[in-house]
Amino acid sequence: MTTLPNILISVAIFIGLIAFLLFLHPILQGDEKFVIETEKKSSLKVLERGENFLVVNTIIPYNNYGKQICMVLDTFPRVLLPHEQYDKAIVTANLEQLDAPRTDGYFEAFMVYPHKSGDLSLTLRFVSQQSSIEDALQDIFDVSINIYSNGIGRNDMFIRKANLVIKKEELVAII
């Protein structure tokens, strides 16, 4: 029988169903899952060396394990080696896409499709302050580097942090 309460209940059920579907849709659709896989970095490679400096490089893979495209707007490294801890050399880092290197320090935004991967290239420059680079690196600690990424998928813009550690033994071994 069509009565006002029945109509109201039907409308409420209909609205509830729509709300549930709207709630369910993004869950089923998923989002990006962009990960910089620092634990899979390649061995260090010497790019350049001089009396008081050393430039090394490592390749770090990234992957989008999610179901949606990730637009990576920026990535950048932060070397965690303050002079309070180690002052014999200054360490600077530069991160860029392996397939799209630039000479200006700019990081061009790019898309990573679901279940696709790629590589970032991390370049570290060690410049000794007093002695030769060989001597300076004998006293170095493990170099911890935070790699920040800023990107957007279907949800809010994210800023994520991945940590990479370059072991002292690895550095000493290549000089």
């Binding site: 849709h25 495209i69 637009m71 700019y106 061009e108 957007i152 998928g153 813009m157």
Partner: protein, 217 residues
């Protein structure tokens, strides 16, 4: 007769540039009274200050819900791109376009949303869609392209001007022209994307001897 189109290389034009002055700077000496100036819509939008960083866009609930229903290759599939559309065209218009577009799609009619949601639905460029340094921004479509075309024509004393959205997929949408230039003919002339890609930095092209071309097309 072969159509002569001259791409003009420029510096990166920013929101600090006046697009008419920039065109005058780069094109004045190369343009005659029979030429038409065509300019890429994204550069016009950027010079109008219509590139917005995501931190300055605040997606509402409607944007968060609706963006999920658009394929990710489109520019309104992120909540920021969708919010940009809502900011420009209004929440009610976008919502109604979505409802009607969805119903139309159920009966096999595609593209209704884009016809109803306003021209910005087709013009907004999402992140990575524009050349650096605007690759990290949402770039809205340009404002007042017809008026701008008239301004360019008057400033350079040329035959006419066009603001166009052209890509490498053989699509040339004409957003605005000065009064003596035909949309259809301009679209045909620009179909092969003489602007090139962003890194070629040729956002302006000069179509030489336009009156002669229209006689042959």
């Amino acid at each position: 007769m072969a159509i002569e189109i001259i791409p003009i290389k420029t510096r990166i034009l920013t929101h600090k540039d006046d697009i008419v002055e920039a065109i005058r700077e780069y094109c004045q000496t190369k343009t005659t009274k029979d030429d038409v100036i065509a300019v890429a819509e994204s550069v016009v939008a950027i010079t109008q200050g219509r590139a917005v960083a995501p931190e300055n866009i605040h997606p509402c609930l409607l944007a968060k819900i609706l963006c999920r229903f658009f394929p990710q290759v489109g520019s309104i599939s992120t909540r920021y791109g969708m919010q940009a559309l809502i900011d420009e065209e209004g929440a009610m218009r976008v919502f109604c376009a979505f409802i009607v577009g969805s119903l139309a799609k159920l009966i096999g009619v595609k593209g209704m949303f884009y016809n109803l949601a306003g021209e910005q639905a087709r013009l907004i460029d999402d992140f990575t869609g524009t050349m650096p340094p605007y690759d990290k921004c949402v770039v809205y479509g340009p404002k007042n392209p017809v008026e701008l075309s008239e301004k360019i024509t008057n400033a350079l004393g040329c035959y006419g001007a066009v603001v166009a959205d052209v890509n490498d997929l053989k699509k040339a949408a004409i957003l605005g022209t000065s009064k003596n230039v035909s949309d259809a003919i301009a679209s045909k002339i620009l179909i092969d994307n003489p602007f090139g890609n962003g890194s070629q930095k040729t956002p302006i092209v000069i179509i030489k001897n336009y009156p002669t071309i229209i006689e042959t097309i």
